[in-house]
């Protein structure tokens, strides 16, 4: 188990990192966690997002969760908010999560064939 001392050191390291980076998050990824989302693989998708973000050291990307959005047959649903625009992806898999990070989160290119909805009018 992590000792108090280790936690204090962790805090110092995290604070150092925070100092070298400023501004708000560059992207926010929200995974739907309703019952059918979870049954359809939302946990694996979330883990894949977190691992990919860690691997690529994307410190300004936030992963969050929401309740279900009401489209059971399209789960797992994932919303990506970037540059003021929201895109909802459907039937996301662990592989899909990696693709979304590489193409959309990093390069700003929406992954067309996975889009469920956009907030564009």
């Amino acid at each position: 188990m992590t000792t108090l001392d280790e936690l204090r050191k962790l805090k110092e390291k995290a604070l150092d990192d925070l100092k070298t980076r400023e501004g708000s998050a560059s992207a926010k990824i929200t995974v739907g966690m309703g019952t059918c989302g979870i049954a359809a693989g939302a946990r694996e998708v979330t883990t894949a997002f977190m691992e990919e973000i860690e691997k690529r050291n994307l410190k300004d990307v936030i992963v969050a969760q929401s309740g279900c959005m009401g489209y059971c047959e399209q789960e797992p649903l994932v919303e990506v908010e970037k540059d003021g625009q929201k895109i909802v992806y459907k039937k996301v898999t662990a592989e899909g999560a990696k693709k979304i990070v590489a193409e959309h989160v990093i390069n700003g290119n929406i992954v067309g064939d996975m889009v469920f909805a956009t907030d564009e009018k």
Partner: protein
């Protein structure tokens, strides 16, 4: 149905989050001598009244507006029924809810606990404003993690900080390994 108990746990914690809890306690207690597995999820969310609780294992009882059936609790009830156990829900409006699922541990229909590390890690990291206490007991051995203790020391550093995320995962993995439950 969920293939792993840890997915039911993620789902039940989602109920607590939707009930606006800011503290969720999750306990898994494996008593191999009496052959009983107990899962307890306790929250300080908005609770339910007695009439509602009585009907809650009926899928048509839901306050969700996105669809007409709620599946989370009926799934758990199905497991406890199959595993010679019981589901006990205690709730008080404005106070919170305690859900206890008791199963015969060795029952053939008892789902494996599964990847509980990912589930607890996900809950903590994705909900940094909610406090979690997770306890896993296997007979006299016990692992626990209390995010309130972490927050006290980490102060302004949030639990979803990347450095913290990593340490959390290591803590969970090594802690469960110590009680002999790393891969279930």
């Amino acid at each position: 149905m969920m293939p792993e108990l840890s997915l039911n746990i993620l789902d039940l914690a989602e109920n607590s989050i939707r009930a606006e809890a800011d503290f969720v306690e999750i306990t898994l207690d494996e008593n191999t001598k009496d052959d009983i597995l107990t899962l307890v999820i306790r929250d300080n969310g908005k609770g339910m009244d007695g009439e509602f609780v009585k009907q809650i294992t009926n899928p048509f009882i839901t306050t969700r507006t996105t669809r007409k059936v709620g599946l989370g609790i009926p799934f758990v009830k199905q497991i406890t029924d199959l595993c010679e156990g019981e589901l006990v829900i205690d709730s008080e409006p404005g106070q919170g809810t305690e859900l206890k699922a008791i199963m015969k541990n060795s029952h053939i229909d008892r789902p494996p606990v599964g990847d509980i590390v990912s589930v607890i890690h996900t809950l903590i990291v994705l909900n940094p404003h909610i406090d979690f206490l997770f306890i896993y007991k296997v007979d006299e051995n016990c692992y626990s993690i209390d995010t309130r203790e972490w927050k006290e020391i980490l102060d302004v550093v949030p639990l979803n900080d990347m450095n913290v995320q990593k340490t959390l995962k290591e803590d969970l993995l090594s802690g469960l390994k110590k009680i002999g439950r790393s891969l279930i």
